[in-house]
Every structure is written in structure tokens, then in C-alpha cells.
Amino acid sequence: MTEIREAPSMKAVARDLVVAVEAHELRKEFKVPDRKKGRFGRKTRVALDGVSFTLGRGETVAILGQNGSGKSTLVRLLSTLLLPDGGSAVIFGHDVVSDARAVRRLVNRVSVEASFFKKMSSAENLGYASRYYGMTAADTKDLIPEILERVGFPRDRRDEPMENLSRGMQQKVALARALLTSPVLLLLDEPTTGLDPRSKLEVQDFIREIRTNHDSTILLCTHDLAEAETLAERVGILDRGRLLALEPADDLKRRYGCGTLEEAFFSATGRAFEAEGDEDDEDDDREVFA
């Protein structure tokens, strides 16, 4: 079991009245090729190793970790896209495995890659996606333009195919897609990775707005130390599948006797923090039978 040093802040204590996410001993393994064992050799790689934590309703928590630390696996488990090999995760009282459909009504996600049907426009992509959440065309007629405007998406480009848009623009549409369904738990998996500085700031501003104006709990997985520190009330350090700490950034720095979050990360993991890099693909080398 991973030992988690979780220092309660006053705000968090107040919010403990309503627990948004409760993960207990979450474990996920993948079978990956092992060339030492021959052509069909496989070995087990642990992506998450007994991760436990709680998130209070309305709280914003950032999880810091290197490539392969388990951040994306954690997000996928919470969004019912992966089945855990051990432990449990409960979202607003609903288990992610046995009550997955109830969880899906409460959760939405923005990942590092804004995935859309590229030939379709932003309005079309948002339109059909919102139907999956039971929203009719009448429900979204005004809502889609309104949300696109709020994320700073230009009105005159709504009917353009997504493939004509920059990554920053696409990521704004991804945020709009997530917000459209009014999720009470928003999972942000490196939403600003690979964006130009301006787009990055715009996306971060929008996350701040969500924090302020919506009753959403936010789990933000990021490479960006400054992003984690400024956006989140608590910061977690995930390393090789283990959650080493989860507490306010200042408490983390104090605990490790460091002046910066980067130094705290180094002290906690024994490794230097790798600045923004490629997509977090810890389960990229998952089992492939094809």
C-alpha cells in the first residue's frame, strides 16, 4: 500500500462533508511485451499501485507526475474507461465498476489530445456529443454558441471542419464539450500540454472560471508545476504508479524543506522533474494481441 501524506486544509475539511471522489487502494496492471522471454513473452507492468485519496466536492486537485507515472490511467479509471485490477473508486457515492452508468452522468473529461471527428465542425461535434447525455437539439440550440463564446471560440469559425483549427482552438472546443454536459466531476488530463503560451493561458483562465462559477470538482493531471500550484488547492505527486503525497503546495514545500514545487517533487521522488513533454502514455505499451 502506498503511504499517502495527506494534510487536511480548512477548506478541504469543510468539504469533507460531501466526498466527490474516494479512491481506495486502486491498482491497475498491463501486460507488456518482454523481448527477453521471446516473441510472445509478456511481463506485467504496474501502472497504478494502491492509490488512495479523497476529493471534496468543489475542490480542485492537481496530480503531478512524469510520463508513465500513472496519471492518465487514473483519469481513465475514474471515467470508467478502464477496469481496475484491485481496489475501488467511488464518485459521489457511485462505484466506477458496478455503477458505471451513474458515474458517467456525473463525469466528463478533457484529455491532452482534443479528439473529434475532424471533418465535422465544432458545432456538429458538440451537437451529437450532447445527445449522448440526453440533451435535445432544442436544449443545445442556444447553449452551444453560448459555451463556445465563453471559451473564446470565434463565432465565424463554428461551421469550419475541426481539421482547419489550431490545436489551441481544438482544445477550447474540447473544454466546451466537457462543460456542455455540466459535469460535477471534471477530469483534466494535461489540457494545456503542447499549446502555445497564449492558448495555454486562455485555457488556464477558463479552468479558473469553472472553479469560480461552477459547482464542479476538478482533478487536474499536469506536467506544469506552475499550473498545478496556481490552479489547485492541493497537489499530489504520482510517481511510478504510487501517490506519494497530496496536500496544499505550500505544505508540500514545507514538508520537504524546499523553496519550490520542483524541488519538492525531486525530494519526494528522488528524480528531477521533467518539463512538459510528450503525451502521458503510460498505458501505451499495453497488451496487444493483434
Partner: protein, 271 residues
């Protein structure tokens, strides 16, 4: 239930947008289907030209019916297989699978659009080949009963398509191609261009549980013999039974495949 129906409508809406955006590719694909159908139907003329003794008009119509059903089944399976394959390629599959829409309604939406679009394409293909190219005589043809048989058989085809659509989940690289194997095998044992009676006995046995056998028989009877809807009952009741069995079976197989994919992390875009 209302939310589920809206969700299924969303799948239809998405397919409508995609079809609209890729319409010129569909036109190109339709031309290929026409060419493929013509090569099959011309076989009858070729046999006559080489001295064979046969009713050319009837043989050409029989071959045309087989080729149109083949093309129709191809469209249905293609849409169902794309439930997974296309979404994996675009990267949207995780967003679709984490939505609260039940898998039954998700696949139903996919099936409804596939049937509507497939019927349109099949009708167009039949009209173009039968009347534009060959000017085939069908004095007794009853098109409405033929259409009803095709629609009823579609339910069974969708059930089988659901089972096939799980293949890209298990093998992202080669799963889709395996769907074509299933399509071909289904039609071979169902007497796509010939009566089932010419097949080996073991294949004839398989033909009795294939919906395509009854679909082909019913359509031939309606178009070649001029049989009405009431005479179609012998084909319709087996199709209904196969449909009632294949849909839940298709959903069950798909749910097993989805569980496998979630266990092994195969919903992700790449790989």
C-alpha cells in the same frame, strides 16, 4: 428512456454529418459497387455468348439480387464495424464509451442509420443496374414484399454486425478485415448467386440458420415469381426468430468485447 432515445438519435445525427462530409467518397464507392455488380451480372450474358443454354433475363436478375444483397450487407457491416474502428482512428471512442448512453441504444442508433442508408444505396444500385444498364424485364415483380423481407432480415444482420463490430476492439489492426470474411462466409452458405440445394450438405445445414438464406429466397420469390407479402411468411417467421436471438446475442458479445477492452486498455486511440 427519453434520454436514451435522444442518445440514439445523436448516433444517427453523427452518422448523417459524417455521410454529408464524405459524400464524394461515398459516390466513388458507389461507382465501385456498380462496377462490381456489373461484372457479376454480365456472367449470364457471357455464358449465353459462349453457347450456354439459359434464361438470360432470369439469370441476370438472380445474379443482380445476389449482388445487391451482398452490397447491402457490406454497408450494414461497414457501419457497425465503424462503431469501433472509425472512432478509434479519430480518437473519439473514449468520449463515446464514457457517455451515459447505454450500449444497446448506441448500437441501435448505429443500426438504424445503417439500415436507412443501406436501403437507399441498395435500391439505387438495383435501379441503376436493372433498368439503366441491362433493361431487365421483371413483368411479375412485387417490389414491396421484397423490400419488407430485406427490412425484416436487417434486424438479424444488425445482430450479427454487432458481434462483428467487436473485432476491432480485440484486434485494432486486423479486426475490420475479419468482418469482410464474416460477410463473405455468410453469403456463400446462403446461396447468394445460386440455390442452397447445390451446396454440400453441411453448408446447407448452416444455411438454415443464416438470415441471408431467407432474405435471398424471399426477394427472389417476390421479384422473379411475383409472390405477394402473404406468401413471404415462410421467410419472415425464421427471420423474426433469428432476429430475436441475434440482437441480444450481439449485445452480449459486444459487452464482453467492451469489458475485455477496458481490462486491457484497448479503447485508447493508438495501437
Amino acid at each position: 428512456m427519453r434520454a436514451e432515445l435522444v442518445g440514439a438519435g445523436g448516433v444517427v445525427e453523427r452518422n448523417y454529418y459524417l455521410t454529408k462530409r464524405y459524400i464524394w467518397w461515398d459516390v466513388a464507392w458507389f461507382l465501385w459497387t456498380v462496377a462490381n455488380t456489373l461484372t457479376i451480372v454480365f456472367i449470364a450474358k457471357g455464358i449465353e455468348a459462349s453457347g450456354g443454354n439459359l434464361d438470360v433475363n432470369r439469370t441476370m436478375t438472380t445474379l443482380l439480387i445476389g449482388a445487391v444483397v451482398w452490397a447491402y450487407l457490406g454497408i450494414l457491416f461497414e457501419f457497425l464495424m465503424e462503431t469501433v474502428a472509425w472512432e478509434r482512428w479519430e480518437g473519439t471512442i473514449e468520449y463515446t464509451f464514457m457517455a451515459p448512453l447505454s450500449r444497446a441504444m448506441h448500437l441501435a442508433g448505429q443500426g438504424v442509420f445503417a439500415i436507412a442508408y443501406g436501403l437507399l444505396r441498395a435500391t439505387f444500385l438495383f435501379v441503376v443496374c436493372a433498368f439503366l444498364f441491362f433493361d431487365l424485364a421483371m413483368p411479375n415483380a412485387q417490389f414491396f414484399p421484397a423490400f419488407v423481407v430485406l427490412v425484416v432480415s436487417s434486424v438479424s444482420f444488425i445482430g450479427i454486425g454487432m458481434m462483428m463490430s467487436v473485432l476491432p476492439l480485440i484486434s485494432p489492426e486486423k479486426g475490420t478485415q475479419l468482418g469482410f470474411v464474416a460477410q463473405g462466409t455468410l453469403l456463400v452458405v446462403s446461396g447468394v448467386y445460386y440455390p442452397v440445394s447445390v451446396l454440400p450438405e453441411w453448408m446447407q445445414w448452416i444455411a438454415t440458420i443464416s438470415p441471408a438464406t431467407y432474405a435471398l429466397d424471399g426477394i427472389r420469390e417476390a421479384i422473379l415469381e411475383g409472390q405477394g407479402l402473404t406468401a413471404m411468411w415462410d421467410e419472415l417467421w425464421p427471420l423474426m426468430i433469428i432476429g430475436v436471438v441475434s440482437i441480444p446475442m450481439g449485445l452480449w458479445v459486444f459487452s464482453r468485447g467492451e469489458k475485455y477492452a477496458k481490462k486491457h486498455g484497448k479503447l485508447k486511440r493508438s495501437g
